[in-house]
Amino acid sequence: MTAWSRIAEIGLIAWRCAGMARHALWAAKTRSLFVVAGIALGIASLTIIVAAVDGAERKANEMVAIFGPDAALVLGGNIESRAVGQRTLTLSYEDAAVLRRSLPGAYLVVPMRAKSNVQVRYAGRVTQVPLVVGTTAGYARAWDWPLSEGRDLSEEDLTRSARVGLIGDTIAQELFGKQSPIGRTVLMDRFPVQIVGRLSYRGVSGGGGAVDDRIIMPITTLTKRFHLERNYFRALRVKFHDPEYMSAHVENMRSLLRHLHNLRPEEEDDFSILTADEILQFLSTFKGGLILFLGVTALVAMVVGGFVLANLFYLGVDERRSEIGLKMALGAPRWAILTQILLEAVGLTLIGAILGMFLGMAMGQLLARLEVLEILFSWKVFGFALFASLAIGLIFGLKPARRAASMTPIEALKGN
């Protein structure tokens, strides 16, 4: 017999063993079901992990893209220490002016102040705007947020404390429907504001919430109309040239602000600087936690599934001794017996993997709907699931399979 025909024969016999494995699994439905269920749960968790990690990554990239790799956000107060009673209104117009004048590399410095939950009306329609942002000229540019119509806030708007505003896309839809909001006047808590620009639809923010339901006004107008503190504001958006030197930019800004705030060396910063890097860092710790939690779950589920498999197969091999003995008597070589049992194990884990993937996708979809997790499914999930299930099938199936194959024909046949 040539080597080739021998290989072809082995392939054919292995294929036939697969058919016998299928019959045997079907004949032991309950046992098979247990194994499939165990593996499916493990693979489902694995699917969710992979999808959630990818989702977090996509989210991070989106957030970085929106936040801008060349930008920093300075917040009043130290968000790390969160000392009780610490002042959060620590950034002054003086700070902004100095940064604008003398911070190397910075080309745009935009202070921001916010008023939440303002009622807005137009022609009988009323809506609650969760966030009204007061800012200086160049808001749309500072946030890389193009206008779909109209114009950005100007220096003149600021100096005049003009009653003008930019409108978020969602509110524009709510109040004006398909009409253009440009040039129209809305009532905000009873004082009129003319809409001069409309922000394009953005979907998500750096913080993860909705962003298209806001109105932007000159900060001067906002403080005046809502009687807010006049000297300080809450946040400062700074854009830099040369984003590759971001860490140097940030350090310069930190020293400058500490100097302006007269902080002694032992004192903590009374402000916080956020950059895209920080967002990524935060997300990677979040991702780490997620991988750990779901990873442990998946591992436990799969090991349990694997042991269930090993035990049931052990019992199965015992129950099926005479069948195995018969096959040996009819001339089955040991490797064919081994192959059949291994294929039974791997077959079940693969079925479990496929069910688990669907289950994982359904659960992931649900978690995404409930906004618990960001989810991104990719072919990677299939790769992981197939590999993991194959490994489990082989590892846990090997022992019972070898036991079956190592029996002598007569001890198998006699069943003792």
Binding site: H23, A332, R334
Partner: protein, 227 residues
């Protein structure tokens, strides 16, 4: 090798089972020669070691002493995969308790020995159908063993034993669980199998059944009396 050499030569075959510290000597030096095409009955009382001897003949078990020459070759020297191939190609087995796989059809049971070889599935199926028809089960191809009578199950087992066209048929009490009429049919089938030129070795405790054979070997107290 000459054509007149016996296909099976047993020389002082011994088989001792170890049960704890108890030695059970079942075969104490059995010597038999069986020629190609013979029909031999192996007769003995219950517990005399007939099945044990048949398992050794069929390469299912190894003797603890003596030599077994199969077609002139000492089987003690054969590697494991060669033994499987011989069980598959040279021997056909019929057991007292049928040993059919319960969850597949009669046809699939008959095809089983063929699945461990290179014969195409279509050819196997055709051969299995032919054999089942020969043993009178043309209308029972797709029945499960549980849906067949004892005699029908034994006929399925006989068809299975013949699938790979073996030279030697080993039958261990093939009629042990059957009534006399059915037994007679099974014995007639065995005779026709012998008529095809095959070597048939029949194990039985019953003198009347042994009479179907050309030659009777009596097993007693672990030794044989050839008659």
């Amino acid at each position: 090798m000459s054509g007149s050499q016996p296909i099976i030569q047993l020389q002082n075959i011994e088989k001792t089972f170890l049960l704890g510290d108890l030695n059970i000597e079942v075969l104490k030096g059995v010597s038999i020669d069986i020629d190609q095409g013979e029909f031999v009955a192996l007769r003995g009382a219950s517990g005399s070691g007939k099945s044990t001897l048949m398992h050794i003949l069929g390469l299912l078990d190894r003797p603890t002493g003596g030599r077994y020459l199969l077609q002139g070759e000492d089987v003690a020297n054969l590697p494991d995969d060669r033994l499987s191939a011989l069980r598959n190609q040279l021997f056909g087995f019929i057991f007292q308790t049928f040993y059919l796989i319960p969850y597949i059809s009669a046809l699939e049971n008959v095809m089983l020995p063929g699945l461990y070889g290179a014969t195409p599935a279509r050819q196997l199926k055709h051969r299995a159908e032919e054999l089942l028809t020969q043993v009178g089960l043309a209308d029972r191809f797709h029945f499960r063993p549980g849906q067949l009578s004892g005699g029908q199950q034994q006929r399925v087992a006989m068809a299975r034993a013949l699938l790979n066209d073996p030279q030697v048929l080993l039958a261990d009490e093939p009629t042990g669980q059957l009534d006399s009429a059915t037994s007679a049919e099974i014995m007639a089938l065995l005779q026709s199998i012998h008529g095809q030129g095959r070597t048939v070795i029949l194990v039985t405790h019953d003198a009347a059944t042994a009479d179907f054979a050309e030659r009777e070997v009596l097993l007693h107290d672990g030794l044989v009396q050839d008659r």
